[in-house]
């Protein structure tokens, strides 16, 4: 007698194939929608793309030539098709300010944000998850209160204020950390010329090149902004972990594990944690995605040449190709992270497969 309704292997393969197909289709539609949005924004804003290239004093012939070169005489749908085609080939247009391809510029700025966001998220997870678990397993105790208060501070204190105080104390007064920027200026040049840049992330590249002096310097610069952003992400992650963990610890299967005589660490970190991971993955992905947009305030205070300051500067300069290109990249990062967290979700939750 078989009363488990589990699909056999062949139908399981078919189901996975079907899922990949639908997900691929969703991905394509999402990215197209993203491009359509940036395309339309580019057409709607009251900035004449031709004028911003040729300048105010151009002749009518110059103006028309550029207009033709940009394909602006074509019908709108065709312009969009060209835009999509270019984007697929990695061409997001040229920056008005620098005349450089937008994608190349972003490729220089994005690693700074990626490095900062990753380190911050790592900190947020490594501290936030155990803190949340600690609080959930001892509700109402001093440990719980401490986690709650520290988390609340992370929510309520303005980041720029914390950043300024941090710089003042740890850099200005104590000299424990590097100041603004990703490296001391002395190292800046050396990094450009003596280090093979595999990723654009200074910590990784210097490590791969064995330049530990430079690694240490880069670390002293990133530790404060990463700690700051990590603190905010830790506040969020610890609070969510606490609430997810409390919920799981009230479930019947936890009693089952205890009835079996399992020690408490195993009940919490194996039985409950594997269930907590299911919603927690989404939370972590969200907070990571939020940081990957490039947090403008932090990047400004710490003179961090990341995506957030790139887009903001472009916006102030009315450099539309750069703004829209940056937006496309941010959107694509969101989509990619979403996919990644979907995949991880399936890994940890058999019911979602």
């Amino acid at each position: 007698m078989t009363d488990i309704s589990q699909p056999g292997p062949p139908s399981r393969v078919a189901a996975i194939a079907r899922r990949i197909a639908t997900e691929g289709a969703t991905l394509v539609v999402t990215l197209l929608g993203l491009l359509l949005m940036t395309f339309l924004i580019g057409r709607v804003v009251p900035i004449d793309p031709v004028l911003s290239i040729v300048g105010e004093r151009a002749t009518a012939e110059q103006y028309d030539a550029v207009r033709l070169a940009l394909g602006l005489d074509e019908p709108l749908w065709k312009q969009f098709a060209i835009y999509v085609g270019d984007a697929l080939q990695g061409d997001l247009g040229q920056s008005i300010r620098t005349r450089e391809p937008v994608l190349e510029e972003i490729a220089r700025y994005f690693p700074a944000t990626l490095e900062l966001a990753t380190l911050a998220t790592l900190f947020g997870v490594l501290v936030g998850v155990p803190a949340g678990v600690l609080a959930a397993t001892r509700p109402g105790t001093l440990a719980d209160q401490v986690v709650r208060v520290v988390g609340l501070m992370g929510y309520s204190m303005p980041v720029f204020w914390l950043g300024l105080i941090g710089l003042l104390v740890f850099y200005g007064m104590l000299g424990w950390v590097g100041g603004p920027g990703r490296l001391d200026s002395a190292y800046q040049m050396l990094f450009e010329f003596e280090v093979t840049q595999y990723t654009g992330m200074i910590l990784i590249d210097t490590a791969l090149n064995g330049r530990w002096d430079m690694f240490a310097n880069a670390f002293s610069h990133i530790v404060l902004p990463a700690g700051l952003l990590g603190y905010v992400s830790m506040a969020y992650i610890s609070r969510m972990t606490r609430s997810f963990m409390m919920n799981e610890l009230g479930q019947e299967y936890i009693t089952t594990a205890r009835v079996k005589g399992m020690p408490e660490w195993r009940v919490v970190w194996v039985h409950a944690m594997r269930n907590v991971l299911v919603p927690l993955i989404t939370v972590i992905a969200l907070s990571y995605a939020y940081l990957l947009e490039g947090s403008v305030l932090t990047e400004t205070i710490f003179a961090w040449p990341g995506l957030g300051s790139y887009i903001t500067n472009a916006l102030f300069a009315a450099d539309m190709p750069a703004v829209l290109g940056g937006t496309v990249v941010v959107g694509a990062v969101f989509v990619a992270l979403n996919m990644l967290s979907d995949i991880l979700y399936r890994v940890v939750d058999p019911r979602a497969r």
């Binding site: 007698m1 078989t2 009363d3 488990i4 309704s5 589990q6 009230g250 479930q251 019947e252 299967y253 009693t255 089952t256 594990a257 205890r258 009835v259 079996k260 005589g261 399992m262 020690p263 195993r266 039985h271 594997r274 269930n275 299911v278 940890v348 939750d349 058999p350 019911r351």
Partner: protein, 276 residues
């Protein structure tokens, strides 16, 4: 021989509106026999069962004059000693396998966990024992069930897995808390007969908790009738249908609604002084 002797067991929950007494001075003793606990919903059956394992979570609190299992007072035992008893010597089958099995672990991982973690068995040995346990609860495609996740099992199959899991360490006492209430009527009988056979064969003590008097009468040797955290009547199962106590009689009269709503019984005369 007495396996378990409970004197004046109380379970109290501290709530915002003052203490709630879920169990109010329950005493009984048990040999290697089958003891039924019946009573309407909320009468404290589950809390009594869990108190025996000292598994009441805060804000719940357990008190008893004594709770002696096989010569050892569980009230005096350390948490470490309790962990040694749980699973190995006292086990519990819970009501609904949908909630009582870990949804993200395979059945195999859950079945072998005790053997691997506590008894330090290797994967192969643990697996063999688990397969044998599944066969003992009449699961034929045991290999496939081992690889399945709980949501891929039917209720009946899930409860058999639960029973197999709890019986692997061959406990001396099994507490079964409404083990068939969440199952279809047709499956209930199957699961019960499996449980019955295993308890008989292995000579375990059994505490069988149910709101279904007829079931308990058939299945047990002796019955405690609980009301509002107290034992209002204790009698041999054979005498149950002839019980005189008004509450027990009331429960008997309310019987035909198996699987129906299980709130406090509406048609019950609560005017006696037992009902305070």
């Amino acid at each position: 021989m007495t396996l378990l002797s409970v004197q004046n067991l109380r379970v109290t929950f501290e709530t915002e509106n003052g203490p709630v007494e879920a169990v109010r001075g329950v005493s009984f003793s048990l040999g290697r026999e089958r003891l039924g606990i019946v009573g309407e919903s909320g009468s404290g059956k589950t809390m009594t069962g869990r108190a025996l394992l000292r598994l009441i979570r805060p804000p719940g609190r357990i008190e008893a004059d004594a709770m002696i299992f096989d010569g050892q007072d569980l009230m005096q035992a350390s948490e470490r000693q309790m962990r040694g008893l749980r699973g190995r010597r006292i086990a519990m089958v819970m009501q609904d396998p949908k909630f009582s099995l870990n949804p993200v672990m395979t059945v195999g991982a859950q079945l072998t966990e005790g053997l691997r973690q506590r008894d330090r068995l290797g994967w192969d040995d643990a697996r063999k024992r688990a397969l044998a346990a599944l066969e003992a609860v009449q699961i034929r495609d045991a290999d496939r069930v081992m690889a399945a996740y709980p949501h891929e099992l039917s209720g009946g199959m899930g409860q058999r897995v639960m029973i197999a899991m709890m019986l692997i360490p061959e406990p001396d006492l099994l507490i079964a808390d409404e083990p068939t209430s969440a199952l279809d009527v047709t499956v209930q009988a199957e699961v019960l007969s499996i449980l019955d056979g295993l308890v008989r064969d292995r000579g375990m003590g059994l505490i069988f908790i149910s709101h279904d008097l007829r079931l308990v009468a058939r299945f047990c040797d002796r019955v405690l009738v609980m009301y509002k955290g107290r034992v209002v009547e204790e009698l041999a199962a054979a005498d149950l249908m002839a019980a005189r106590h008004p509450y027990t009689r009331g429960l008997l009269n309310c019987l035909p609604r198996i699987g129906g709503a299980r709130g406090p019984l509406p048609g019950l005369d609560r005017s006696g002084d037992w009902a305070e």
